[in-house]
């Protein structure tokens, strides 16, 4: 009889847990409610690899963040994604903030983080020419980094597929039944699956999913964070710039993105709905003001590409809750910041500690497991001779579709071969339409390629979820 493990939720945490399990068990099935992996909490946040120096010592967050940061080095090699360890500064601007920098040094020591140092004004302004000249000093952490978290989730899901697991999209769990010692999972699309072990990594919805198992986890309430994305046209900062934090969050940051743009945000406002990802006038004004305090010359008029908001799954105790429920299901919930950084460590915590030690299940590493997976390179970034050779074999590699981010037709077709079906799939897998013109030039072309290579009519193609249609009729029949 097959032993099947189900992971509910295909964000960065769920996909990395599925991948970790897959190193031992072939039949790992990953169920994601949305149309692609990493499209929930994973997608809309600051996309930072944190240093691990500021989590409350003794918390599960502190235990897993620094470890996660270290695990990313290996993970990046195996899953082949861009990760830049650009470092981070926590900047004290006001007099009363400067002592906080030394408190952070002590906290870092307690958390075992050695890679931090205090940078004084002169050196700080040398490292970051555009930050507020009133800055007094900063705590610099060299192991902090930036990356695209959704790429990690998509690559981890691909790694599961390559190693014999299954990854399913549009699977929203609605009911769970215990039957003959197994879990019977029922999904919204009426499909049913039996699983021997279930890991709930449903992000914002982890508390709701836990209830389906009859288990209790701390209630999750969504906290909205709003952002500005600025274009590549001006190099505002070289590393992630944090203000001295308030009690609620790490504050509003200014940071580079891995492909050369800049983010300003987030704020932190508790909202009622887990679907409320609308930006607000007040919120945007708030982060504009706070961002400008850190980097006074931010030019929103000239450099703004877009605004967006994401939701963080927060709990009252502001810590991760990762444990086995009464039902026997494992709940990975309350994964707020620094969840992205901790994710690989959370995966090991679940598999090595909860499953093997706490539940006492014996797992053996598979000999045929392949940790490395390939990723279609972004051609604009590879050596020109190599690119030229690729074009000789495949002329599509010489046809530029997205002019802002320089994505070729080959890269788009490769994404479709890897499962892309929506405009957002193409956008998040290849970065086409992610740039300054926001798809003004390339949307029509991408829609055409998607239609051609998936054998559908353009009217059937969505931006992301069902209902997010682009065109609805023909002009002439």
């Amino acid at each position: 009889m097959i032993f099947l493990i189900a992971v509910i939720g295909g964000g960065i945490v769920g996909t990395l847990i599925a991948r970790e399990l897959n190193k031992y068990v072939e039949d790992v099935w990953l169920f994601e409610a949305k149309t692609n992996f990493g499209m929930g909490v994973t997608k809309s946040n600051s996309a930072i690899l944190h240093g691990g120096y500021d989590d409350p010592p003794g918390s599960l967050r502190a235990q897993l963040c620094y470890k996660g940061n270290q695990l990313y080095t290996q993970l990046q090699k195996e899953l082949n994604f861009d990760l830049k360890r650009v470092g981070s500064h926590v900047v004290a601007i006001e007099d009363e903030e400067t002592k906080y920098i030394y408190e952070l040094v002590k906290k870092a020591e307690k958390n075992g983080v050695k890679e931090v140092r205090v940078v004084e004004k002169l050196e700080l302004l040398e490292m970051e020419k555009n930050i507020n000249p009133k800055a007094k000093r900063s705590l610099f952490c060299e192991i902090a980094g930036i990356f695209d978290p959704w790429i990690v989730a998509m690559q981890a899901a691909k790694s599961v597929r390559i190693n014999g697991g299954r990854t399913l999209i549009k699977k929203r769990l609605v009911e769970v039944e215990k039957k003959n010692g197994k879990f019977l999972l029922r999904f919204q699309d009426k499909s049913e699956y039996f699983a021997d072990l279930v890991i709930n990594a449903a992000g914002l919805f982890a508390d709701d999913v836990a209830k389906l198992f009859g288990d209790e986890v701390p209630e999750i309430f969504p906290v909205k964070g709003e952002y500005f994305l600025l274009s590549k046209d001006f190099q505002y900062v070289n590393s992630t710039i944090f203000p001295v934090p308030t009690g609620i969050s790490k504050g509003c940051l200014v940071l580079p993105t891995v492909d050369g743009g800049f983010l300003v945000g987030p704020n932190a406002n508790r909202v009622l709905s887990k679907y409320d990802t609308a930006t607000t006038r007040e919120g945007l004004n708030e982060i504009r003001e706070k961002g400008t305090k850190l980097v006074p010359n931010l030019n929103f008029r000239r450099h703004l590409v877009k605004t967006f908001a994401g939701l963080r799954p927060e709990t009252e105790k502001k810590d991760f809750h990762i444990d086995v429920g009464k039902s026997g299901a494992i709940h990975v919930s309350g994964i707020r910041s620094p969840g992205l950084t901790a994710a690989p460590a959370i995966a090991k915590y679940v598999v090595e500690y909860l499953i093997q030690e706490k539940i006492g299940m014996n797992l053996y590493k598979r000999e045929n497991y392949i940790p490395e997976i390939e990723k279609t390179p972004h051609l604009i970034h590879i050596d020109r001779n190599e690119w030229n050779d690729i074009i000789q074999k495949d002329p599509d590699a010489g046809e530029m579709i997205c002019h802002c981010n320089k994505v070729t037709k080959k890269e788009i077709i490769d994404a479709i071969k890897n499962g892309a079906r929506t405009l957002d799939d193409i956008k998040f897998m290849t970065r086409a339409s992610f740039g300054e013109c926001q798809g003004g030039f390339c949307t029509a072309k991408i829609l055409k390629i998607l239609a051609e290579y998936t054998g559908r009519d353009p009217r059937e193609i969505n931006q992301n979820e069902d209902g997010s249609w682009i065109v609805n009729a023909k002009v002439r029949i």
């Binding site: 500005f228 530029m400 979820e465």
Partner: protein
């Protein structure tokens, strides 16, 4: 592959076609790089008429204007489907196409890279990121070139010419246009377009109005608009709701200067009356310098850039002297901002407010032009003869002409 030529033109739109034609006419070798499979750029999707009245002395549609301009390119090497990766200051240009990566060694370059549309996402209007929001150009492409409708009921934000043209185009295709919103107290496009595209079809135009929020779950369901005060802040209590599935935006064009990043820009290429940029071998023309209101001006500028680039390649024109053109009172846009006083020049001027009768002066030159009903959207053209090289700076200003009799 390696190419060698006298003048490279990047961009085969109205400016680029004119530049290539004129450079060739000056007797030099020309290569025109075009990223699409045809020349013409946005002209191809502008199927309405009104193009070419000045330049070809004919009332043409966009594609017709393109055909007329293209006819003159017969013996010019045009490389289609090309994308320029790099322009190096050692006068080499690297581009990619379906055959591979290539290099051109040239003597002069004309940038004719046009503009892109400012996207609604960059405004920033609060709301979710839902579908149904299109730039006017994308909507126009879907309807006119791809045979696809972007929705059933629409609001248009921005009354620039593209917004006005699209209001009529959508209406003709059975898409109901509920309103055109304009943040300024006057329409952004040409007066003839307001009449022919809105008034003739009974489409309401709301001046001093903007979109304050968009709503919808996955596709747009509602646009909320409000009247704005003089600072463009929404006035509470003036909100209007439109239940539409489509929002078309025409909120400005941004000159495209990439991949050239070592010449002066703000935000378009800063050129002189000879279309020379801050690098003497690079010339620029059309919407990549400043946003023009008529394609005829773009083509004329393109020709001029082609002429001077060819002269430069032949060694007949060097680095021109630069007299600064200053923007004086009531002037919104002035182009170009440098003048080589040894050459003739054409100034393109946008006033910054509406005038009954504007008196435009170029100081200290003895040039005055009177323009009736001058409005910011319509460019005023002033020609200057070569002038004294000892003048360091000229200033352009406008004021209301008050009748001496009144």
């Amino acid at each position: 592959m390696k190419y060698k030529t006298d003048v490279v033109v990047i961009g085969g739109g109205a400016a680029g076609m004119a530049a290539a034609y004129r450079a060739k006419k000056e007797g030099v070798d020309v290569i025109l790089l075009e990223r699409d499979e045809d020349t013409g750029g946005v002209l191809n999707q502008c199927i309405h008429n009104g193009f070419g009245l000045q330049y070809f002395k004919k009332d043409l549609t966009g594609p017709e204007f393109k055909e007329y301009a293209k006819e003159r390119l017969e013996d010019i090497e045009i490389l289609f489907g090309t994308y320029v990766l790099e322009v190096r200051n050692d006068r080499t240009i690297i581009f990619v196409d379906r055959r591979g990566i290539h290099e051109i060694e040239t003597k002069a370059l004309v940038m004719a890279t046009g503009a892109r549309e400012r996207h609604f996402n960059s405004l920033p209007v609060p709301g979710k990121r839902i579908t149904g929001v299109f730039t006017a150009g994308l909507a126009q492409r879907f309807i006119n070139l791809e045979n696809l409708k972007p929705g059933s009921k629409a609001v248009i934000l921005g009354s620039g010419d593209i917004g006005l043209i699209m209001a009529r185009r959508l209406t003709l295709e059975g898409i109901k246009v509920e309103a055109v919103l304009e943040i300024m107290p006057y329409p952004g496009g040409l007066e003839r377009n307001v009449q022919q595209c809105l008034k003739d079809f009974g489409i309401p135009l709301y001046l001093s109005h903007t979109v304050t929020a968009i709503e919808g779950d996955r596709r747009l369901e509602k646009v909320i608009a409000a009247q704005v005060d003089y600072k463009w802040d929404p006035i509470p209590g003036t909100e209007k709701e439109f239940e539409v599935d489509t929002l078309i935006t025409s909120v400005g064009l941004i000159p495209q200067t990439k991949p050239v990043d070592f010449v002066e820009t703000d935000p378009g290429f800063l050129v002189s009356n000879t279309n020379q940029t801050s690098e003497d071998w690079i010339f620029a023309a059309g919407n990549c310098t400043v946003i023009f209101d008529l394609v005829d001006y773009v083509a004329k500028e393109g020709e001029k850039a082609g002429k001077y680039a060819a002269m430069y390649a032949k060694g007949e024109y060097k680095k021109g002297k630069k007299v600064k053109v200053r923007k004086g009172e009531n002037i919104g846009v002035i182009h170009p901002i440098y003048i080589d006083p040894t050459q003739e020049s054409t100034l393109y001027i946008r006033v910054s407010k509406v005038f009954d009768r504007a008196n435009i002066k170029v100081l200290p030159l003895d040039v005055e032009v009177i323009e009736d009903e001058a409005r910011p959207p319509e460019m005023i053209v002033v020609k200057l003869k070569p002038f004294d090289e000892n003048i360091d700076e000229i200033e352009v200003m406008a004021d209301e002409l008050i009748s001496k009799l009144g």
